[in-house]
């Protein structure tokens, strides 16, 4: 994959940006800025060339949730200025405002992290955490989890097919479907845990738990932008907090 300037930034720089935007959204009241924050994220996604994946994930993960949250606040947030009524449901000005604020904040913060993970490979992020002091064992656990999940998903399908061949029903009433869960999960778990022993032996034979400094083939570099940007974030945040206190 061809990497552009934004994707080449150090993972921590991108991670701090997601945190920075989340904090800014919480400091500034009202919903206008939060929607602006989402627009900024969208622009970054366009500039980095990941806009399709970004919007796809935002739609899938957040859209339904945001609609529910907005409607809940609109109808049930306590307030006196009634704007309209429909049956037993009535909506108020306070509910409308709070609904917009809450859903726009969740939109901005959620999509900040979605964008972060679209721009950063998890491998790079874990490596940067390791550079920042995460023990190598922790890094190994996170990375091997990511590797095991698709492996186990395939394995689960194989087991399910095998059990179907033996006559285990997976269609029908709730009870029949529930009964198919155990014969799928039990062999999956028991066979997976038996492989941990081999992993432990393999790691130990490579001196993984030896108390020395580990060297890594995978290295991350920091550019000038990576050194400057965190300070820019902090300066803006301090400015925002001062502005909130003084006005």
């Amino acid at each position: 994959m061809q990497k552009n300037f934004i994707q080449q930034l150090h993972p921590m720089t991108k991670f701090f940006f997601a945190l920075f935007l989340s904090a800014a959204v919480l400091i500034i009241p009202g919903h206008l800025f939060s929607f602006l924050g989402f627009a900024i994220l969208l622009l970054i996604a366009v500039a980095a060339g990941v806009v399709k994946e970004f919007l796809g994930t935002v739609m899938k993960a957040l859209l339904f949730l945001l609609v529910i949250i907005f409607l809940m606040q609109l109808f049930f947030y306590p307030g006196d200025h009634v704007l309209g009524q429909w049956g037993i449901f009535k909506w108020t000005e306070e509910g409308l405002n709070y609904g917009l604020t809450l859903s726009s904040r969740i939109l901005a913060m959620g999509s900040a992290f979605i964008l972060f993970f679209r721009l950063t490979e998890v491998r790079d992020f874990v490596k940067s955490l390791e550079d920042a002091g995460l023990p190598p064992m922790g890094a190994y656990v996170v990375l091997s989890t990511l590797q095991i999940i698709p492996e186990m998903r395939r394995h689960a399908n194989t087991i399910m097919d095998a059990q179907k061949t033996r006559g285990v029903e997976t269609e029908g009433s709730l009870l029949i479907r529930a009964k198919a869960f155990i014969p799928t999960l039990t062999p999956l778990i028991l066979s997976s845990i038996s492989s941990t022993e081999e992993r432990a032996i393999t790691l130990e034979s490579r001196a993984f738990s030896a108390p020395t400094k580990k060297t890594s083939l995978h290295k991350l570099t920091k550019s000038t932008a990576d050194r400057i940007l965190p300070f820019v974030y902090i300066t803006i945040l301090v400015g925002l907090i001062l502005w909130r206190i003084l006005t």
Partner: protein
């Protein structure tokens, strides 16, 4: 058993974490494929809590939500719930609460309370009372009938959690029963569940 915090983190239990996290995620997917009405997304965390203790399970719960959060950030705040479940199960296991079916069901009920008490404040404070799950409909119905927001969220999440957690605890109980003594002897809390040789 007197174990210090650090003793819990040996190589074997750390290597169980990826498996447990994958069981959480794959178990949820199998439940989806079979169109079961419950989530079954904490089986791995509970399993780790039972055989490897509270602190390893806490870590497994955290990692589960971080990895789910990569694709759906809504999971991030609920990491606290998963961690609390792991911790709670670990201490229940230490107290021998997974030794027979009756005790396991009681453990399932205790886990439900832990899950509801920790997750309801997150639902109310972070998401204003509703997440995109089916329990939102129940919450809305309770609110429309004049309930307080806290009462409504507690009640609806309790209804949706209780079956899920009791079934998960029972599944873990049967799986631990099927584990070999040879494997259990290598786990920190395995001695409690070995068929022979235990004190």
């Amino acid at each position: 058993m007197n174990r210090s915090f650090k003793d819990d983190f040996n190589m074997m239990s750390m290597l169980l974490i990826p498996i447990g996290v994958a069981i959480n995620i794959v178990g949820f997917q199998i439940a989806n494929v079979l169109r079961l009405p419950i989530f079954l997304d904490t089986i791995g965390t509970i399993l780790i809590g039972v055989v490897a203790g509270p602190w390893v399970a806490l870590l497994a719960g955290l990692i589960t939500n971080l990895i789910n959060g990569i694709f759906n950030p809504v999971y991030f705040p609920y990491a606290i719930t998963s961690m609390a479940i792991g911790l709670g199960v670990g201490f229940l296991s230490k107290a021998g609460m997974f030794k027979n079916i009756i005790k396991t069901i009681i453990s399932g009920i205790i886990i439900t309370f832990i899950a509801v008490i920790v997750s309801a404040p997150i639902t109310v404070l972070v998401f204003g009372g509703a997440t995109g799950s089916t329990s939102a409909i129940l919450t809305a119905t309770l609110l429309a009938s004049g309930q307080e927001i806290w009462g409504a969220v507690f009640a609806s999440s309790f209804v949706f959690e209780i079956a899920d957690k009791i079934v998960s605890a029972l599944i873990v109980y049967f799986i631990v029963r099927k584990m070999s003594d040879r494997y259990l002897s290598k786990m920190n809390y395995g001695l409690l569940y070995m068929k022979r040789g235990g004190k």
